[in-house]
Amino acid sequence: MIPPVVECIRAAKSFGPTRAVEDVSFAVGPGEVVGFLGSSGSGKTTLLRLIAGFETVSAGEVRIADKVVSSPYDHVPSERRNVGVVFQEYALFPHLTVAENVEFGLGKLSRHERRRRSGRVLEMVRLDGMGRRYPHQLSGGEQQRVALARTLAPRPVTILLDEPFSNLDASMKSEMRREVCEILKESGATAVFVTHDREEAFAMADRVAVLQSGRLEQIDSPSALYHSPATPLVAKATGACDFLPGRIRGGRAVTDFGSLAVAACSGGLREGTEVDVLIRADDLQLAPDPSAAAVVTSREFRGDEVLLAVRTPSGATVHCRRHHYSTLECETRVRLFPVRSEPFVAFPRRPGA
């Protein structure tokens, strides 16, 4: 078996009393791109900095290329880890030209080799001919690509990107995202990036790790996370959703509008368990029915669709997507029926929740 490039084993980091990262374990294989998804304060950047060697672990260990680089007893400094870091604010050296920035990490090579390598990498990020400029003479997207080139130049075993696109405006973002993806694939690099943007994580990563309050909630492929989240938190982090209360009867969840097929979640669902069924906006369909108990409470026209909020008899609200020609108005009584092909996901209701 090929050893993972980056591996965290029960890694933890505290800043004084604050626990930034708790008990996180995962492994990144060669050539894989993994995204850390979480809101601010979820510990995702701290985790990246633990891998980069800018922080020391409080417990557990970090391994790179099968060697322990961080443990409470040992710390290999960043400069001896051979990892590349692309910072959120790029951190290009303002006193050096683009070429000098790219050559900065190539100290061991001869001058000629350095030139050649930096030329190659700049070509790869489509900045050939810009080597003599200074960082402040470049646009945001160009600075981003210089940062990437500088990181790629010494051929690191893995590349770490901290919120790589947060400093770019929206139109630039998707373009740069595609470009960076291409460059990463082209160079065959193993990469770990941090983001708070679900769309970005889904678009770039082979696997996404959802972090919350310093804990790793789940790590899986984007579609697996979306379709079968392990916890309500992951469900919310991976897309808008509602929770419909129900009770398990005969292996199905009985809710306001009939019983729904549910997938057995981890630990199983015993008969009679109170559950919350995860509902995404396209899981349900509705039809006007004056005798039905559910009522449309709001209608939001979004251009390509209409989003309706529906209140069920028990008082829960679920959202439902409709075609943009839909003329259903508020206060309409509607009947809801499931259209999801897969079984629904249900989470046991926590007492008191």
Partner: protein
């Protein structure tokens, strides 16, 4: 007061958004950082430790001398001079700052430079110019005597002369700090206030001035401390404040403990001022407005244009043109009478070389302290930073006394040499260098250093290849400031300088304290010109940065 005013007054003060805690990179500082910092901290601790020791074993006689009512008079004089100079400086500087930054005052850039220039005039030069112009048998009396037969002018000695001199020299401290903040004010706040229905005066009073308050306070603090520690002007104008009293005590008495006790009282007064500043600042909300801001649109002066020019012109005339003219007058007299130039060249050489050494030493010493304070925050860093600011609180004369004691008792080999003087300069002016180094290191984000580390450079190479080149301009301007301060320094130079060590400042002082104004003019002019070199460098740098 309307109910709306009440609501605004009752609302909690706006608090800045919490910044993400600065991530610590390498928790423990390496020996290359903490060892030099430790040595510097010990050097900085010499004066306060001396004060404590001497005060503790002061003779009964010394205590008796200290507890005379005369001491209270000295304290009262010192504090009232500091208060008067500070208030007058603020009153002059805030309108000047506004006029030269925010309005369409004609030639406002020229006025901007001219109003800052009095900074290069040392207080003893200012004192000598005032006495020679307005004193008995001075220029003004000479002019009035002929046609009008005036043979007595109201005395310039004492509080009025000292205050006038110090205000005209030190208002630029407030001006520069206020101007720095005023130029960076976000116009959005004023525009918001206008859109909420406030008129221009109300905007000034309720939005602009409150934002300037921190700058006014810290500029005022500089002036207050400068006045309290000033020796040149008060000694020439015979206004007996702490510094002059200490010097006289030191000169005339063998028992140095009275001077030490007076010094302790002076330091107490300085600490009082510092604490009051910290107290005002503690309740003030500082902010850093994010995002790109548009340049400020200058305010049209309209029919206030001529009064504004008149006001600015009057300040520049009083603080710059008249002194220049008086200096020129004595210069011509002196050159006609044939002043011995040889000793002046030696003095100039001494001044420049020791100031350059002090600038280099202070800049080098500030580096490890800045690295410790910025990159390794903690208790040690806090203590080291506080100790480095000892120079701000301790007047030069106190530092000098402490080092005389230290040199005579524990460092014989450097006692009575320029090295001890150099040490005094570093102790006194390290804060200036540290401020600049610290600010420039803060601008080098830790991300840059981390980038270098992740690209395979160790800590030392990272410092040499990334941090140092980026810090250099800031450190150089700190050094330029120290050079300027050292050139002007008088009391420590008088007390600690080797017997035959003449500098431009001691030359000016000894000539003018005996009213040989013509002899004082040449070294004074040289001193001002040589001090202007680093000041010019600082101004050009500021220009280049924006």
């Amino acid at each position: 007061m309307t109910s709306e005013d009440l609501r605004i007054a009752a609302a909690p003060r706006w608090q800045p958004p919490a910044l993400p805690a600065e991530r610590q990179t390498w928790t423990r500082p390496p020996a290359a950082v903490w060892l030099p910092v430790l040595l510097i901290t010990i050097a900085m601790a010499l004066p306060p430790v001396y004060l404590l020791l001497r005060s503790a074993d002061a003779s009964a006689e010394a205590w008796r001398l200290l507890l005379r009512p005369r001491t209270a008079e000295i304290a009262l004089r010192s504090l009232s001079l500091a208060a008067a100079v500070t208030l007058a400086s603020v009153a002059l500087a805030v309108p000047l700052a506004w006029l030269t930054v925010r309005t369409d005052l004609p030639y406002r850039r020229v006025w901007g430079v001219l109003t800052a220039l009095p900074l290069v005039i040392p207080s003893y030069v200012g004192g000598f110019l005032i006495i020679s112009a307005l004193g008995p048998k001075g220029l003004l009396q000479g002019v009035l005597q002929g046609p009008l037969g005036v043979d007595r002018l109201p005395s310039i000695y004492g509080l009025p002369g000292a205050a006038l001199t110090l205000v005209l020299l030190s208002y630029p401290y407030v001006l520069l700090t206020v101007r720095g903040v005023m130029g960076g004010l976000n116009p959005a706040y004023e525009e918001t206030a206008r859109s909420l229905g406030l008129g221009p005066w109300a905007v000034m009073r309720r939005v602009t001035l409150p934002q300037l308050r921190p700058a006014v306070v810290s500029g005022g603090l500089l002036v207050g401390l400068y006045t309290l520690s000033d020796f040149g002007a008060v000694s020439l104008l015979r206004y007996e404040t702490f510094t002059w009293a200490i010097y006289q005590q030191y000169q005339t008495s063998f028992d140095r403990s009275t001077a030490a006790l007076l010094s302790a009282a002076l330091v107490l007064a300085a600490i009082l001022i510092l604490v009051s500043e910290a107290w005002t600042r503690g309740r003030m909300a500082y902010h850093e407005s994010a995002g790109a801001r548009r340049p400020l649109r200058p305010v049209g002066l309209g029919r206030w244009k001529w009064p504004a020019i008149l006001f600015t012109g009057a300040v520049v005339t009083a603080s710059l043109m008249l002194p220049a003219w008086v200096l020129g007058y004595w210069l011509v007299r002196g050159l006609h009478a044939g002043v011995a130039m040889g000793s002046i060249w030696t003095a100039a050489f001494n001044s420049v070389s020791i100031s350059a050494l002090a600038a280099a030493a202070a800049a080098v010493c500030s580096l490890p302290v800045a690295v410790l304070v910025v990159r390794y925050p903690g208790i040690f860093a806090k203590v080291a930073e506080r100790m480095s600011y000892v120079g701000y609180a301790l007047p030069g004369i106190v530092v000098a006394l402490a080092l005389v004691f230290f040199g005579a008792n524990y460092a014989r080999p450097i006692y009575q040499t320029a090295w001890l003087l150099l040490l005094a300069y570093v102790v006194m002016f390290l804060p200036a260098a540290l401020g600049a180094s610290r600010a420039s290191l803060l601008r080098v984000g830790p991300r840059l250093e981390e980038a270098a580390r992740s690209l395979g450079h160790g800590p030392l190479r990272t410092f040499l290849n990334v941090t140092a080149p980026l810090m250099l301009p800031g450190v150089l301007s700190g050094a330029a400031l120290v050079f300027l301060l050292t050139m002007k320094e008088l009391p420590a130079t008088l007390i600690l300088g080797p017997l035959d060590f003449k500098t431009l400042s001691t030359q000016v002082w000894s000539a003018s304290s005996e009213a040989f104004f013509a002899q004082a003019a040449v070294p004074a002019l040289l001193l001002i010109l040589l001090s202007a070199v680093p000041l010019g460098y600082l101004m050009l740098r500021d220009r280049a940065r924006f």
